[in-house]
């Protein structure tokens, strides 16, 4: 972490040194600590600090990008030179509109000093305490405990100059015995708000052995998906079809369904990095302010998709503030803070409404089988249960599903009133990808295979 003053000074310095017609500079930095535990012992205890500058140089309609992770004037001069050289060797992007203009940004406090400063000894004690809590059930604890701070600064020659810093923590608890596993995780800005006792209880609850473990034949079953599974499904929807790039490629489900009421009134889905539950930043990686973007409003596909400055210009609209770092591509802009409106059901209400069916804790290793049809395949893991008359009666061996997300959302019968913030930490330490989701009761879900455990 180099701090606001140095970050902005370095950006202004580099902008001043750039001979390009327009220049944009993004700085992303972090100082993070990850404690990993397996088989009830800490096996990796790591720390990482880094600051990377992304330079985008625009020469007429030619664009070049360079990155460097050294925060010195000399290093930045080298990187600016490299970006300009790259731009010179480029082909012209004839419809490039230039860099975005300055717009008001409202910063918010996302930094918790306690999360940034908690030391390795304290974290080890917390892990130790969690391990002790698994002893009574003869379980082993596996997982990871992340604490860290991040900073992002953006500036360009059109006057944008913005800085934001934050902290995040995330802790996971996979409890395991010879033949069962359970799981829970929690994320927050403030490490002291995590209820570790509750976390272990939740994990142990889903690891509990029942009198029997059954295997189910592939086929269509009613399901209740816990928040972890719902979040996985929605983040794939984001990749598959919610971006301007998918729409431009004519490969998004939004195109044939724009304005159509596909789902029940209870389904609303939007992106909002400014919602405190979403752990977002106040501006995107072009320095454009974030705002809410609705995708599904009371069951109707709005037709909105996420844009950066360039993709918006091509589509004849305004950026929605979803730019990614410049090396991701000129038109790449994903909604990474999806929020689904809650329903009014208690968790038990969902099981009661389902009656007989499957309760699923979590998915594993999802893959897009067909983007346009939003078909996803993956496995269940860490707690799959057979439910009869609203009560869990058996564990189920893990199963494979192959299911259209859109069809699944069409079949949502009820949503929980409580929601959970899920941070996809493994894919996004520097720019948090999150989803805020309820549990869902879906009346039909397509299982296509079994495994051996």
């Amino acid at each position: 972490m180099i701090g606001k003053e140095q970050a902005l000074n370095m950006i202004e310095y580099a902008l001043g040194k750039s001979p390009a017609d327009q220049t944009e500079i993004l700085m992303m930095g972090h100082d993070h600590f990850l404690t990993r535990y397996a088989n009830s012992q800490i096996h990796q205890n790591t720390a990482e600090e880094n600051s990377t500058f992304f330079i985008k140089a625009v020469l007429g309609k030619k664009i070049g990008i360079s990155t460097i992770n050294q925060a010195t004037p000399k290093a930045l001069e080298t990187a600016v030179e490299s970006a300009c050289k790259a731009a010179k060797n480029q082909k012209e992007v004839n419809d490039y509109p230039g860099l975005p203009q300055k717009a008001p940004i409202v910063d918010f406090n996302a930094f918790c000093p306690r999360t940034a400063e908690i030391n390795a000894e304290e974290k080890a004690l917390i892990v130790q305490d969690m391990i002790v809590r698994t002893h009574g059930d003869r379980m082993a604890l596996n997982g990871a405990f992340y604490t860290g701070s991040y900073e992002v600064a953006a500036g360009n020659t059109n006057g944008i100059l913005a800085y934001h810093k934050g902290t995040l923590t995330d802790i996971s608890a996979l409890t395991s015995s010879n033949n069962t596993t359970g799981y829970a995780s929690a994320s927050a800005r403030d490490v002291d708000t995590i209820d570790y006792t509750r976390l272990i209880e939740e994990s142990l609850e889903s690891a509990k052995a029942y009198d029997k473990t059954i295997t189910l034949e592939p086929g269509k079953y009613p399901v209740v998906l816990e928040e972890y599974a719902v979040a996985d499904m929605l983040i794939y929807l984001s990749y598959m079809g919610l971006s301007a790039e998918s729409v431009e490629n004519e490969n998004s489900f939004l195109i044939p369904h724009r304005g159509e009421k596909l789902f029940s009134e209870s389904i609303s889905l939007f992106d909002d990095a400014l919602n405190p539950l979403a752990f977002g930043t106040p501006f995107d990686y072009e320095g454009v302010p974030k705002s809410r973007l609705d995708f599904i409003k009371k069951g109707t596909i709005t037709g909105n998709c996420s844009h950066n400055h360039y993709s918006a210009f091509k589509a004849g609209t305004k950026t929605t503030g979803h730019a990614l770092p410049p090396d991701a591509g000129l038109s790449t802009a994903y909604p990474f803070h999806l929020i689904m409106e809650a329903g009014d059901a208690q968790n038990q209400d969902l099981l009661d409404a389902m009656g007989t069916g499957i309760l699923i804790k979590r998915f594993h290793y999802l893959t897009s089988v067909h983007d346009l049809k939003t078909i996803l395949s993956g496995m269940t893991r860490d707690g799959v249960f057979w439910v009869e008359k609203g009560k869990i009666t058996a564990r189920i061996s893990d199963m494979r599903f192959t299911q259209s997300i859109i069809e699944a959302l069409k079949n949502v019968e009820a949503l929980s009133s409580k929601r959970k913030s899920i941070w996809f930490r493994d894919f996004s330490v520097d720019f948090p990808i999150t989803a805020v989701v309820p549990r869902l009761f879906i009346k039909e879900f397509n299982f296509t295979g079994q495994t051996e455990f």
């Binding site: 990796q44 720390a47 990482e48 080890a124 591509g329 089988v369």
Partner: protein, 481 residues
């Protein structure tokens, strides 16, 4: 820099560490991505820093920093030691390390032409020309993409056991793809592989040998033809796996399950564990007698090729599966000691900032005796699939499902049309036991995968898989919705 690295090791030794190693890495990359006649991304990237790994009181600590001045390096070394000390309070067993040779050596990837020396406008010209060719083939071709990526890494390694190793690893590669789109469907064909293409630890000559322009028309025509092709039927039938797809099959169902850290539960909470438990070593019938798989970290051009791993262990070649029987894991110094053996040298980190762990090197399926044409002629009914489109496998690496870009329908010994949206699914050992033929060395090729994910934070590693087309019997195909 060596003086600074030495100082880092001295610092943690003085503080009581029983072992430590340090890596300084300078990594340069160049990425070019073209789409529909435009350069969508063109970036040149430089990242450098050091990573220090410390063993203290039987536990690991690791710290990485991008700051390479003397004070920062010493502070980072102390940080690593503090992390190790804290970890040692929550341990069941002490980390023990197998013996390692003391090495003072250097290595450089052999290549003819440095890819970073090539004028980038020449590379862009090639990719844009491919784009034009693809665009001319059919009105339904809506998206054309091209990729070129080059990577160069300079790495100094030093350990408290006296090893000092300098390595320069270089790789490059790329590929093209064409997507045909109509109102209800979208189909893509790629060459030479999907998700960016093929890669090799060779110079620019590798990219030139791909001859992208020669293949542009064919993939565009196939993408357009797939829009009109019938859906791959659901069936249990004979499956021929082309090399590009078979490489990923090896990767997911053999490469990952033989990582010994994974087998021992170290990745349980995220990536999962493995069905290949230690009791299966040397005895388990992993595949049919036709299945011979080895690990070779020194294979010329393989993406998993180096001289020494990130523990200073020399690159090695050994059996993984011999005539169908599972023989060996990928090991580290920490895990090999459990078998009272030395490490077989597979530990790598994806950069200075990450802790090294067991990674695949080049995991290769050895060629068989069959000529590819004879194999097709010998197949009465089935499909030949190639070029990956989707992939998923359970956390013990048993139940898998893959999708490919295209399936060629095989009937009475010849190719009789194509299917779209092919998928196949199975259980790993059942699948490999159903292998009844592997094609010969003329059809064998090394495939490079630059984006293998493992660990937390996720580390992206480059690995290789050599293989030729193989045949599998009684496989479930056509699971789509």
């Amino acid at each position: 820099m060596k003086q600074h690295l030495s100082l880092a090791l001295d610092t943690v030794e003085d503080m009581g560490s029983s072992y430590a190693d340090v890596r300084w890495i300078s990594r340069k990359t160049q990425n070019i991505y073209t789409k529909n006649q435009k350069v969508e991304a063109f970036s040149e990237n430089l990242s450098q820093g050091i990573g220090i790994r410390v063993l203290y009181n039987g536990a690991w600590g690791f710290a990485g920093t991008n700051k390479t001045d003397e004070k920062s390096i010493i502070d980072t070394a102390k940080r690593a030691l503090r992390l190790a000390r804290a970890a040692s309070r929550v341990k069941v067993l002490d980390v023990m390390l197998s013996e390692a040779p003391t090495v003072r050596d250097s290595y450089k990837t052999p290549y003819k032409t440095d890819p970073f020396s090539i004028p980038t406008d020449d590379i862009i010209e090639t990719l844009i020309h491919c784009d034009e060719i693809m665009n001319e083939q059919d009105e339904f071709i809506k998206v054309r993409e091209g990729h070129f990526d080059a990577y160069s890494e300079k790495k100094d390694f030093m350990s408290t056991e006296g090893s000092e190793i300098y390595q320069e690893i270089l790789w490059c590669g790329g590929g093209i793809s064409a997507s045909a789109v109509c109102s209800e469907d979208s189909q893509t064909r790629s060459y030479p592989a999907s998700f960016g293409g093929e890669y090799s630890t060779r110079g620019f000559e590798f990219f030139e040998e791909l001859e992208l322009e020669k293949h542009a028309a064919k993939i565009a025509q196939e993408a357009a033809a797939l829009l009109k092709a019938p859906q791959c039927p659901q069936d249990k039938t004979t499956l021929l796996l082309g090399g590009s797809q078979l490489a990923l099959q090896i990767h997911e169902s053999c490469g990952h399950p033989i990582e010994l850290d994974r087998v021992l539960g170290m990745e349980a909470s995220f990536a999962g564990t493995s069905f290949l438990t230690p009791d299966k070593r040397g005895e388990f019938q992993y595949g049919s007698k036709h299945v011979n798989i080895h690990c070779d970290a020194a294979y010329p051009g393989g993406m998993g090729t180096f001289a020494y791993d990130d523990e200073g262990i020399p690159a090695q070649k050994y059996d993984v599966v011999r005539e169908g029987i599972f023989k060996n894991y990928l090991t580290s110094r920490e895990t090999a000691v459990l078998f009272e053996e030395d490490s077989n040298g597979t530990v790598r980190a994806d950069g200075w900032e990450r802790m090294p762990m067991i990674r695949m090197t080049n995991i290769n399926l050895e060629p068989g005796e069959w000529n590819i044409d004879e194999l097709i002629k010998d197949t009465q009914k089935g499909i030949l699939v190639d070029t990956n489109r989707s992939w998923s496998i359970d956390q013990q690496r048993l139940n898998f499902q893959f999708g490919t870009e295209i399936a060629y329908k095989v009937e009475e010994g010849s190719i009789e049309g194509i299917y779209k949206n092919p998928t196949y699914t199975g259980i790993t050992p059942e699948f490999w036991r159903s292998c009844d033929a592997v094609t010969d060395k003329n059809n064998w090729q090394m495939h490079g995968i630059p984006h293998c994910g493992k660990g937390e934070p996720m580390q992206t590693m480059f690995v290789g898989h050599g293989c030729s087309t193989a045949r599998f019997r009684n496989v479930q195909i056509g699971v789509f919705d």
